[in-house]
Symmetry: C2
């Protein structure tokens, strides 16, 4: 089971590397691919320079996990048709999709969340919701699962969601073991969301 990490400039650092840390401890994960639309160096909002490979539509491992971060760059990418077209193809091919924070805005723009429940960063909630008027946005949730699509609240919630995904697919004990291994105090309850607003 490969993890395809989709990157664009000004992604939010922890949106990516929290879930990468967690998923990297899962024995079923065979490796990570860091991919962007044009390849080359991609830098996060915190100016972390990552080397990425260029996106190519290919017949991927049908079980792969697509990890989709948020960050300031999403404000630009929601209006970038080649970005959305590539993502639409990846979302259709993926076994599971995990979006973090405003990554849900990109996911919403692919149309794949229409008619489904999802959540996102609570401070950017209004803007994200506008990107998917047909999505059933959940205002109070650490993360939401709709079939094979997982969406997390802001930044740090991505780690809790990644552990929740592991608990769903591989059992609670595996998730607990991974959290303990990285000395992470897992927020296990997806409905407990201290950052929810109104």
């Amino acid at each position: 089971m490969e993890v395809l990490v989709w990157l664009f400039n000004e992604f939010e650092t922890l949106d990516v590397f929290g879930p990468v840390e967690v998923l990297g401890k899962l024995p079923a994960v065979t490796g990570f691919r860091f991919v962007s639309l044009h390849g080359g160096i991609i830098t996060s909002s915190q100016k972390v320079p990552i080397i990425t490979e260029r996106y190519q539509l290919r017949r991927p491992d049908p079980g792969f996990i697509l990890l989709l971060p948020g960050g300031f760059g999403t404000r630009r990418e929601v209006d970038h048709p080649p970005q959305l077209q590539a993502l639409r193809q990846l979302v259709e091919a993926a076994g599971f999709v995990l979006s973090v924070c405003t990554g849900a805005a990109l996911l919403a723009r692919t149309g794949s969340l229409d008619g489904k429940q999802a959540t996102t960063n609570k401070r950017a909630f209004g803007w994200v919701a506008e990107q998917g008027p047909q999505v059933e946005w959940v205002k109070k949730a650490r993360w939401v699962r709709s079939g094979n699509l997982y969406t997390a609240s802001g930044v740090s919630a991505g780690m809790d969601m990644a552990l929740g995904f592991i608990a769903d697919q591989f059992g609670q004990a595996v998730a607990e073991q991974i959290a303990a291994g990285i000395e992470y105090l897992w927020n296990r309850d997806r409905e407990a969301d201290p950052f929810a607003m109104d």
Copy 2:
């Protein structure tokens, strides 16, 4: 205030990018430099490829923060004199040093923790303690401060320590605001350590 992030192959991903996320929200931080002994591409244990600049002793900003991760690569680097010599110079020049997880083993090998309190990953505790027989190792602590040297417990504890550092230096309100901004449930009590052993 610049953050110099010291990297080596097989560093642990979240040891670096948890604190980078937190420190990146601090207005006093002007930027990050990702530095390694020889420069070039450095990959984490989770195979994240990062571009680094080559270490050069220069007269740095006296207030800079040195961030020192742990990870499997520390097992090799504690016996690598050029690595330790570079680190010794950086630790002496730094305004503050923040080590995460087994990064404390490298810090101990520079001698700068001798006679001081420090902590580290609770599962690798014995091995790290052997790297610094003159260090007063604290078995139960989420993180420890000894003057300008901060040491965190395993992996995820780095985020709690980074917020603790910010609270010490810039006030509790700044730390709380940053934690809320990234929807992080901060473990504020440095003495509360559910992963402590015996």
